[in-house]
């Protein structure tokens, strides 16, 4: 008798002791492999990795005149480590939110569109459990995308520019290793900011069966928020915009770390994640799955 038969006949006494956590992790892992093996997402990540390299090459070929270009760009030619920060500034405005929109918008709506959502729910995956897995996977994708930008930029910076002790915004100079630690903090902060956008995308994804609609809607929200953020007449509303705090990690590059602004940003991200996570949960928890 094969092991399969034994497994089947042991059916009624299915091991209950096996932690639900382990099984959750297995589901989570399957979700991650779905995201990170999908050709579309891999192409997107390749582009995300290529842009910092391009940025480095451009800066090497023609260094910008002092005072021009995005933040940190002027420091890049003196210290390659700054390419990571310059790349994050460039990527956080459009490319990273776009990538998150694609993954988050597709997360539930994509399953609904292909019909796999009904199979997942009858398996049963559990609606809340499914949503937790989806959000966790989006979070991991945000981290992976930000890390990818940082690593690609760091490697390019090391190749093309001199690298050494890092001069912080406050004028203090710290060892390279400490500088890299600061970059990692920035990456984590940006991940949190993208995850808040991802939560909005997840909620949108639960509202429709058309993944493209959810992706487009999220990009509209991101771009509208960025435009509103640049209109000074409504500056009172700026702190409540989802993208307002995305680049507010200057404080992490000071000595000592000035955490007041970043804490405010993290609070905003958490609020967005909770509000839109709740919307997603309320929607998916009660929705009639007719796809």
């Amino acid at each position: 008798m094969s092991t399969a038969d034994q497994a089947v006949q042991a059916g009624p006494a299915r091991p209950a002791s096996l932690g639900p956590v382990l099984r959750w992790l297995r589901f989570f892992w399957s979700e991650l492999s779905l995201i990170f093996r999908r050709p579309r997402n891999l192409a997107m990540l390749a582009v995300i990795a290529a842009i910092p390299v391009l940025l480095g090459v451009v800066l090497k070929v023609s260094a910008p005149a002092a005072g021009n270009g995005p933040a940190f760009v002027n420091q890049v030619t003196q210290n390659g480590v700054f390419l990571t920060l310059a790349a994050l500034v460039v990527m956080l405005t459009v490319f990273l939110p776009l990538a998150v929109a694609v993954v988050a918008g597709d997360s539930v709506a994509g399953e609904a569109a292909s019909g796999t959502l009904r199979t997942l729910l009858t398996v049963p995956a559990g609606r809340t459990r499914l949503l937790l897995v989806k959000f966790s996977a989006v979070l991991v994708f945000c981290l992976a995308a930000c890390l990818l930008v940082a690593v690609a930029a760091l490697l390019t910076g090391f190749l093309l520019f001199p690298v050494g002790r890092v001069t912080l915004l406050s004028g203090t100079t710290i060892p390279l290793a400490d500088g890299l630690l600061r970059v990692l903090l920035v990456v984590l902060y940006a991940t949190a900011g993208l995850a808040a956008i991802g939560a909005i995308g997840l909620a949108l994804s639960c509202l429709t069966e058309h993944p493209l609609a959810a992706m487009a809607a999220l990009m509209v929200i991101v771009i509208a928020s960025e435009i509103a953020d640049s209109v000074s007449q409504i500056s009172a509303a700026h702190p409540y915009l989802p993208t307002h705090w995305l680049l507010s990690w200057d404080g992490l590059l000071r000595a000592p770390v000035d955490s007041a602004v970043t804490e405010h940003g993290l609070l905003s991200f958490a609020a967005y994640a909770v509000i839109f996570g709740s919307i997603a949960w309320a929607r998916l928890g009660a929705a009639d799955i007719t796809s």
């Binding site: 099984r23 019909g115 796999t116 009904r118 559990g126």
Partner: protein, 374 residues
């Protein structure tokens, strides 16, 4: 057609885990399908329109343990006001193969979605395997395999990776046995050889079988299959029918919806017939046939004389025209009726005892053609 497709459901490789042997043994224990037509409890299955499965039974025991699916007044009205399912009382005895028949658009899939908790009923409720839904969904659904409205998979994954995905999503599935269970499910539907192929390269028949394989990933007490033969060629239909028999032979209750009567007639012990959201018949296949008693039809050149003889034999509903006479056969033996007719001097040109085909009954119950009311 690929080799694995041909071999499906029939010539299993003898060296595989002996499961085919196990099934045939189980089939012998279970006996021919016809003998299992009566529910194990011996209780008559309530017809629609009569008392629902939860009423009129004595005490808390109430026989619900005998019912794999029991619904009471299950109703779904969609937001646009369309009444998709109208107060149906399903009673599916445990261990039976229940054919859920009805034309397209009669509410079968909506009912199945409600049974599985995918959509909320607007009224009424139901039990699965003795537990009230939707409270018991997460506890009961692992024991219920299902295929809802056609196969749905990840196109860029292989058949095996697709099954692994759904197995990973199952909160009760054990990772350590996953590989063996997945292979066994693939083997049962005859897809083991094609397991590594991309889903998008599968033929329609293979897709349907993969969908059935999902319902076989775990040992089940109830399998709900929504139109499992939809879009299949006759060969594929036959394969799926054989598979349903195998699943049922293991003692699993099978609830299979179809708009094809032939399919139900060949595999099912019980039928429920839907028409525009209502359950217009529920009972055993034999009970469905008995709805319409057989008649005797005599072709003769002397219909008046023949009619008189049939009336003398106390046959009911004697009707005659220029060429033939017919009457309800009742308990009379047709050969005796024939002998009496001949003795009375009736020239019998032909004598027939047509039973209305299930097809006729089905059409009577569900209406002709495409007249989906409302």
């Amino acid at each position: 057609m690929s080799r694995d497709e041909v071999g499906f459901g029939q010539g299993k490789p003898p060296d595989r885990d002996g499961s085919a042997v196990r099934w045939s043994a189980a089939a012998q224990q279970a006996g021919p399908l016809a003998e299992r037509a009566v529910p194990r409890s011996g209780q008559a299955v309530p017809r629609s329109g009569q008392a629902g499965p939860w009423s009129g039974r004595s005490g808390p025991r109430a026989g619900q343990a005998d019912l794999a699916i029991a619904s009471r007044g299950l109703t779904k009205r969609f937001r646009r006001g369309q009444l998709a399912v109208d107060g149906i009382n399903l009673a599916v005895p445990a261990g039976c193969v229940y054919g859920f028949l009805g034309p397209n658009g009669s509410g079968k899939t909506t009912t199945i979605r409600m049974l599985l908790g995918l959509i909320q009923p607007t009224d009424g409720g139901h039990q699965l395997l003795g537990s009230a839904m939707p409270a018991g969904l997460n506890a009961v659904l692992p024991r219920v395999g299902s295929l809802v409205e056609g196969p749905a998979f990840y196109r860029h994954l292989s058949g095996r990776a697709n099954l692994a995905r759904f197995d990973a999503a199952d909160r009760t599935a054990d990772r350590r046995t996953a590989r063996a269970r997945i292979d066994q499910a693939l083997d049962r539907v005859g897809l083991l050889a094609a397991a590594g192929k991309h889903y998008r390269a599968y033929s329609l028949g293979m897709k349907q079988r993969l969908a059935i394989a999902v319902s076989l990933l775990q040992p089940r007490d109830l399998v709900i299959l929504d139109e499992p033969t939809n879009g299949l060629d006759p060969q594929g239909t036959r394969e799926v029918r054989a598979l349903i028999r195998q699943i049922a032979a293991d003692g699993v209750t099978v609830f299979v919806s179809s708009h094809l009567l032939a399919e139900v007639e060949q595999t099912c012990t019980h039928v429920g017939v839907m028409r525009t959201g209502r359950l217009v018949f529920q009972g055993t296949l034999a009970e469905l046939r008995d709805q319409h008693a057989p008649r005797i039809v005599v072709r003769t050149s002397q219909p008046e004389l023949a009619a008189k003889v049939l009336a003398d034999l106390e046959l009911a509903e004697v009707t005659s025209d220029d060429h033939q006479v017919s009457a309800l056969l009742g308990d009379a033996a047709p050969e005796q009726v024939n002998a009496t007719l001949v003795r009375a001097g009736v020239p019998v040109a032909a004598l027939d005892t047509p039973r209305p085909s299930l097809e006729d009954l089905f059409v009577q119950l569900t209406g002709e053609g495409f007249d989906v009311d409302g």
